[in-house]
Symmetry: D2
């Protein structure tokens, strides 16, 4: 395997729909946040603990192409992939599938690592790169 | 005058509607937040500055009765009243009116004052009680 | 048993925190929505299907008392109870517990049943009252 | 003038911050929604009326690059530009400036026009293209 992949299921809440009857286009950002945090937890890296240790991960870029709307109460399947070993930045690529297993949207987010105390960028923490190593170099 | 009253207009965003075609019932909490912050600003008290000075105002109680739904793009009029001089706690009473000037809902929030550093309750800051004095004791 | 009780776990998302470092006070409304929908699903009643059949359940009243703040990434346990057989209206009572099993808040929502086509209130659907009967009359 | 430009001011709500102390990265989507709706209203096109007439405008693409975080209570200035006459699709380009007039982020959204009844794409309504004509062909 030359990449790390994780799958997260998320059920659409009523609060996340809009009067078009679809998931509001701005909601997916929070779905992807949940997905990448769980993907990191699965690697043994708690984002909560990372922040408590002084490393924050602000988003520097976000892009999404919507193919199909998602609807209330659907159990979405979001696949996230890390394709490159993170250095100063890390990219997560997402694909959202609806209950009929159709591709609903594709997106990526780019985040960087910031020393919260010094308020300046730092390299990816070893805890994260070491965990990813198992997926990238076998 | 024996109370302080302030009026805030808020236009309903698309993101705030749900598939019923109404404003989602949980959204009003943020409308009331905007309303009380602007009511305080009108008294000369910036909530942002208050927090920077170390005083936070967490909400301890919130209650709302919905009479009529509000809809997308409506310019709502929210009236807020402070009826009692705050001591350990402060209550804001809200009435939301739709574009036809019909009462859409009534609510109140109770907040307290917290020293963010010591993480314990404190009395209402003088800046706030002094400003309210003009409305309560004339 | 003279009531129906259901327990829902919800993990706090980063999007749901505010700069106080707590879950924003308006977010719980959506947690309670998820909780009551899952409580109904457990009774065999899909809210999604109910809406498709022409019955909507708007919220008429919501009240919450905050005891302790909840924090990012906490796995909250929300207990919901239906104490009275619904007729024109239904009340859900909620208790939110944090990861230390401390009571974070208590709340209730009152909803009514509306014929979406005729846009007027109707009685609780039999599908729901029949399912609750098993819990209320044994 | 070969494009249409509009400026919208939006004040950051407390609900829109996260525990990093910044505006949550997913919130800007709703700021841009407000901005493009007001830009259209300024052209004489009410999005609400457009939907009532049976034309919806779902978002097909959204992309944003974050330069600087925005903070609670800041009065943001969002500039939106339409650079090309819409046909099947319309692009809005956004630039968000903070209170120090620094560029906070740049983004665009692509939307299409959909006949809500037939559930299929249609061309941009004449009401919109006629209004834009004044800006594009003088």
């Amino acid at each position: 395997m030359r990449s790390y992949k994780y799958i997260q299921e998320i059920r659409v809440r009523y609060s996340e729909t809009d009067q078009m009857g679809y998931v509001y286009y701005g909601v997916y950002a929070s779905y992807f946040e949940v997905t990448r945090v769980e993907a990191m937890r699965n690697l043994g890296v708690s984002y909560k603990e990372l922040e408590l240790s002084g490393i924050m991960m602000p988003v520097s870029e976000y892009s999404i192409k919507y193919k199909r709307p998602c609807k209330y109460d659907e159990l979405l399947r979001i696949e996230v992939v890390i394709k490159e070993m993170p250095a100063a930045r890390i990219r997560f690529y997402y694909s959202t599938f609806n209950e009929q297993n159709e591709l609903a949207n594709e997106a990526y987010t780019e985040l960087f690592f910031m020393d919260a105390h010094k308020q300046r960028p730092v390299r990816a923490p070893e805890m994260l790169t070491n965990a990813l190593d198992n997926y990238f170099h076998e």
